[in-house]
Amino acid sequence: MTVQAIVRDPVCGKEVDPQTARYALTREGRTHYFCSSDCLARFVTDGTGAADEPNPTVTSPEPAPSSEAWTVPIRGMHCASCVLKVEEALQALPGVHRVEVQLATQTARVEADAAVPAAALVEAVRRRGYDVETAEWRLLIEGMHCASCVERIERTLRRQPGVLEATVDLARGTAHVRVIPGVAHRKALAQAVADVGYRVLAVETRPIRETWVHREYRDYRRRFWVSAVLTAGIVFLELPSMLGLTTGPLPGLWTQGLLLALALPVQFWGGAPFLRGAWTTVRRGSADMNTLVALSTLTAFLYSLAVTVMTVIPHAGPDTWGHHTYFDTSATIITLILFGRLLETRARARMGEALGRLMALQPTVARVLRDGSEVEVPVEDVQVGDLIVLRPGDRIPVDGEVVEGFSTVDESPVTGESVPVDKRPGDRVVSGTLNQTGRLVFRATQVGDATVLQQMIRLVERAQASKAPVQRLADRWSARFVPAVLGVAVLTFLVWGLGGPEPRWVNAMVSAIAVLIIACPCALGLATPTAVVVGVGRGATRGILVKNAETFEKAARLRVIVFDKTGTLTTGELQVRTVEVLDPAESEAEVLRLAASVEQASEHPIARAIVEAARARGLESLAVEDFRAEAGVGVRGIVEGRRVVVGTASVLDREAVPADAAARARARMEALGQRGETPVVVIVDGRPLGIVTVADRVRPEAQAVLRDLRAMGVRTVMLTGDVPTTAAAIARELGIDEYRARVLPHEKAAHIRELQATGSIVGMVGDGINDAPALAQADVGIAMGRGTDIAVESAEIVLLRNDLRGVVEAIRLARATVRTIRQNLFLSFIYNVLAIPLAAGVLYPWFGLRLHPSVAAAAMAMSSVSVVTNSLRLRRTGGHGKS
């Protein structure tokens, strides 16, 4: 060990001799020497040396505030107006850039600086009367020695995004963290702990999102059933008076007392969720649907209570109060609205099924080959390059490439492909798919968040939480709606009270209640997001990833679809189309056999197509000697002692072919070229024997897809680099409306712009390889999946299945989703517009028609349910259904 004679104090810069220094700090083998205790102390406390940074002049800079996107689960939102309130609350936080709250998924998508503390998010939401769903995770930590490590780990964990609380248990070697799922990341937590010097063996999380939807559902169910039974009792007791009979089953006083006893729990226990919700909003000086429900039911209840009390206590006042109680009204409203919530919660749980199913596809452990033996490790710990063993029945934990074994894999849950796919060494396997028959060993190529499955989950989550432009309008509208309704209710009350039939003020109250109840804008708030969630989920199960809600709106209005020929209409592989014999003495088989024999030595795509065609016809290739290839011209060699040349028309000149034979061959080649095929001539011993043509392999489903698109009123355009004659031939064969030939890759986007200039909504289908600018330029970019990179930024829709039919299916799905949204908006809008005047009693003066509050409650519950149910119908949108 060589020791430098003199070193410098990293703090004051004075020279220090290591041999005599009285102060020094050694960290991980690196030693710093100091002139004094002060310098040492400053070195440590200033944090100059906090990181293992040997050069103290470079202070580790505060990481630039990086923006992150989180999905925060919110509880307790039931109305579109809640959405705006939560959005406002989160938006107001410093460091938060963008917030999008979704009622249907009960989530807030927050784009914010990583430094925004989780507690601030929770606090902001709670202050508005809602809550943030949290989860408890457990970290198994190795390497904690002393009690003081505990504090260090806790502090580190608490600083991580999404962590609310962290407690370390030294004895058990665990840390419990309370986190906001969707903000906190398992990997980030593990990494943070690892960074301060400990090893995280595992991060255990329990999926809690599902359970709370179910918890909420169970809660509503209990309240509903209890309220329903009590309400039935109330209605039974009230029946005689409703029917105009004077005597009930019990004497008046008893009846009143019993009614009160039955109505009390319904109002304050059954209706507790509404009262609680209303209280928090009232305190903040605003109103939402809870306010409407609470106000209306409390009015009916308290009025009835007053009447009851006055029946018991003899009084002398004027008899303007009437004797009728409205316990039935308050109880029925609460019961019916509970019923509505119950159905809504259940439907919401079902809407999330598609995402839940995707999440369930992710195995938690992987069987990794380490030093020749199989070890089960948590899937987060799998590294790129690890060898993973799959037994029959195993779900594939990460993406990779098979290195050993043979099996079939069911890819249907991820790509929607229903036929099991054979896997042999060299084939790709995708996370979330199911190994069926054999044992496979594969090398991990994409792990963690980068796997296809995890990307898919993120995309679906984000798409489901995105807002369609039309929804923003609906949200804003319904937020203004509640105050307006309160106004209408007051007006109704006054008009009935001042000029209505006797008992005036009682009638006024009943009508005002009906208005309050009927006017809840819930259905309006649910109309769009429920359809989007179901539409995105449906797409995902069919291997169609839609990036956001707006895409549905645009895709539904597509008028022109542009196909990039190679890779979409064709598979991009060459295939032998025709074999023509020029010499009547020879057979097609002989021409192909000789050509294949020479070409087998070549790597050219045309050569491979010819060899494959020969093999497909069962022709044995012969040995070739003296093989030579000339780029762009052709190949030559000796086969069975014969001189065989295969190449373009130019070889005819070089081989000294008799002029008339050469001219004939050239004419045929030109004719075949016109059909869009690429011809090569086969010359044997100086005589042209035959012509073989190759062409792009057309996708078998292409014709049907183009026919379907035309039937749907979509114009099809093909972009190709081929010469016009070839392009025309392919366009004719496929039945495409229009083509653009000789298009260079970088010109594709310009062609899209040109089509858009006519005012059409233009879609573009590409394989995502060199058409990213064109996909981005198009209104709707559709990328044909190659399976690996599903997060293609430039595309709005990604087809996971390598099948053109996905294009038709995607457009059908978009149209169905948009149609559903329109129906839903119409349902909820028309319902509010028609029902409010009816409830206010506009028709009463002429027809004596008015809406009983209970009927209003039933109608309002049903409207939400009908909207949600209508959206759920989208789950059945099939690939072959009517568009």
């Binding site: 220094a21 009285r22 102060y23 020094a24 700090l25 050694t26 960290r27 991980e28 205790s37 002060d38 040492l40 102390a41 440590v44 406390t45 020695h145 002393c146 009690a147 003081s148 490590c149 504090e151 260090r152 301060v196 010097g197």
Partner: protein, 50 residues
């Protein structure tokens, strides 16, 4: 370094092998070994706050 004896972390009292100690400190000419950064900081705090 010939000292192969196991020493104690002066803060938490844990046994530390001087050869493997993650952090060590020379203070007024004397060497202390710590189990972790945290203990070293606490040690320093006590020394400097007097």
């Amino acid at each position: 370094m010939t000292d192969r004896v196991v020493v104690r972390d002066p803060v938490c009292g844990m046994e530390v092998d001087p050869e493997k100690a993650p952090v060590s400190l020379q203070w007024e000419g004397q060497t202390y070994y710590f189990c972790c950064e945290h203990c070293m900081r606490r040690f320093l705090q006590e020394k400097t706050s007097g």
